[in-house]
Subunit: 366 residues, 2 copies
């Protein structure tokens, strides 16, 4: 991996992250393909929408179809027919958020499958093995995603465990994959800084921040977002996991984050909530039944170029899969185009005014 800072505007920065399968232009948004498919999207549609990289989940792919099946297929890229970079989440977050029963030890986590209740074990070594079999370009160290709320004592113990596991991940990492560590520490600033320090000492190729947007108030999340980047190495990519709404991304870019993933654009699309330059559109609303104009006049996506709000309203009400598809295409295009605009604003040293305009004019914050 090669990481270059091309331009800075305050702490916001435009960088390139070069991997074997392509160069990412950051700040970058990674659409989420949990089970090896970005919901409702085909690979060519993802490219049309401007996706540079997608995220897949180690936990989900380990349970189904199993990493040996994916390895047999020639790796995840071949299995899902996606030739651009893939980042795989280590499974830590899913083990903690989806498994009905789990037992944590120094070695790892014993948990029950959310699909069929069968018992499984994943520790740092196993997480690396699975990600190696999947053949993703960027792999994440196995971490404990500290829940919110947690006590100071628990959070400290937990971040130390994450560091211990991160060491094991380093020892078991593949030379052809880029390994990122995940900073934990919950809502305690000193623990966040401690976690960052411990992991920086181990010299990873990139640093992610996990355990945010897990239920804590938005102000607390934004506070973490603001102070953490300066605690991380300047010359390495910084990835804010699982965030977020456009206003959260703006906050994080301003603070110096480079990479993002979130299910918001795809999930809200499936439920009929669309993001446009004129604000949020609830497409099932009856006021769109006879609105024969495009969803977003400023948008260049397939949906906006070819269909009207009236048709999208009809498809939504009729429960047609095509509606889910057209909504998802639009929301992903919107997010990826938003990142493009962010990069342009940074390059032109006008990120702060771009952010201000965005928040006041074009987007209704959540």
């Amino acid at each position: 991996m090669n990481f270059r800072i091309l331009h800075t505007d305050g702490n916001a920065r435009v960088c390139t992250l070069t991997l074997e399968r392509g160069t990412l232009h950051t700040p970058v948004f990674m659409p989420v393909g949990t089970m090896g498919a970005v919901k409702a999207m085909s690979p060519n549609e993802l490219k049309d929408a401007g996706a540079q990289i997608i995220l897949c989940n180690t936990y989900h792919l380990y349970l189904r179809p199993g990493e040996e099946t994916v390895a047999e297929a020639g790796g995840l890229h071949k299995f899902i027919n996606w030739d651009r970079p893939i980042l795989t989440d280590s499974g830590g977050f899913q083990v903690f958020s989806l498994s009905p029963l789990r037992k944590i030890s120094e070695e790892g986590v014993t948990f029950k499958s959310h699909i069929n209740g069968s018992t499984h074990f994943i520790g740092p070594q196993r997480a690396m093995e699975i990600q190696r079999a999947l053949g993703s370009d960027i792999v994440m160290a196995f971490d404990e995603c500290t829940p919110y709320p947690s006590t100071y004592e628990y959070t400290l113990k937990s971040l130390n465990l994450t560091t211990t596991w991160a060491k094991t991940c380093l020892l078991n990492s593949s030379k052809t994959q880029t390994l990122f560590a995940i900073v934990q520490g919950g809502t305690y600033k000193d623990l966040r800084i401690e976690s960052a320090k411990q992991l920086i000492d181990l010299n990873f190729e990139g640093y992610a921040v996990g355990g945010v947007s897990v239920g804590e108030p938005k102000e607390i999340m934004h506070e973490i977002i603001r102070y953490i980047p300066s605690e991380l190495p300047k010359d390495k990519p910084r990835y804010l996991m699982g965030v977020g709404f456009p206003e959260d991304i703006l906050e994080a870019v301003e603070a110096g984050f480079d990479m993002f993933d979130c299910v918001i654009p795809t999930r809200t699309a499936r439920h009929g909530t669309l993001l446009t330059s004129a604000g949020r559109v609830i497409i099932g609303n009856s006021r769109f039944r006879r609105d024969h104009t495009p969803l977003d006049l400023e948008c260049g996506c397939y949906t906006c170029q070819n269909f009207t709000k009236s048709y999208l309203n009809h498809l939504y009400k009729a429960g047609e899969i095509l509606g889910i598809r057209l909504n998802t295409i639009h929301n992903l295009y919107f997010y990826l185009d938003f990142m493009k605009k962010i990069r342009a604003a940074i390059e032109q040293d006008r990120f702060i005014s771009f952010k201000k305009d965005w928040l006041s004019n074009s987007y209704t914050p959540h």
Copy 2:
């Protein structure tokens, strides 16, 4: 409309049916876009699969979004962004198959919406009005779809009513739309012939056969398919409604039918049943979990060119929309390619041997 017979091979024939929006090459299969969308497919994917024309349902579009909304949008073609021909079913079949309560009179049918239970009335005049508002290229006369089984007496009364309605449809037809009548008569050969005679006397531009594949045994359906075409004008298109499996289409083409529609390829795709040159594939079957070969090596569709059975099995098990999409793309391509092969076989005077080969080698009949 201009109809030309280009080549015959026995009773099987290759024709062109020229409409304002394009020329259909028959025998033609029309994918079903019930509510203004062929389930899971986008218009460009339909074109890629080789669709020349699609069918939409007057009953469904009348109820939702309403024909005025579609007319306001500039007609159905603009509403759904499909610039090739559209045939609309008159609503007769749906009124009889979907409405929980209905009352038939000489004037038409009073029925309850299957969506919200509201009361509606559609008669022949109204059916023509709705189809005119939709702006479809081929419109169907409003008919009573005689249920199976029905008595001889009921069937006779019913076909006479269909003829009466057909006259009203003729009087209310638009010059810019092509109007087909629908032959009824249930399972009674003399009544089928009587229905055909009555409608032929009225001189329609095309003739459809309705009320088949409504629950009668397959042998009875095939018998009707075999004797009816010779009772219909040679110089006009013959359309077998709602049929069917490939083996049914072969039977009907041999007898002289030109047009077909059916939900089988799209519906079975959504449930994971795929039609291939090597027979039927139940893609959720665990023997495909590690099958890293394409679904059909002889197929040129997007699915077979880009993905494996293993991935399709995974998507099916994971309940991913992409799985439904890829399955639908394949099955529709398979059907439309099948029609292409039928046309080529007729043109080369080898339809009977093509049919025999197909039934014995490549396809497991239902």
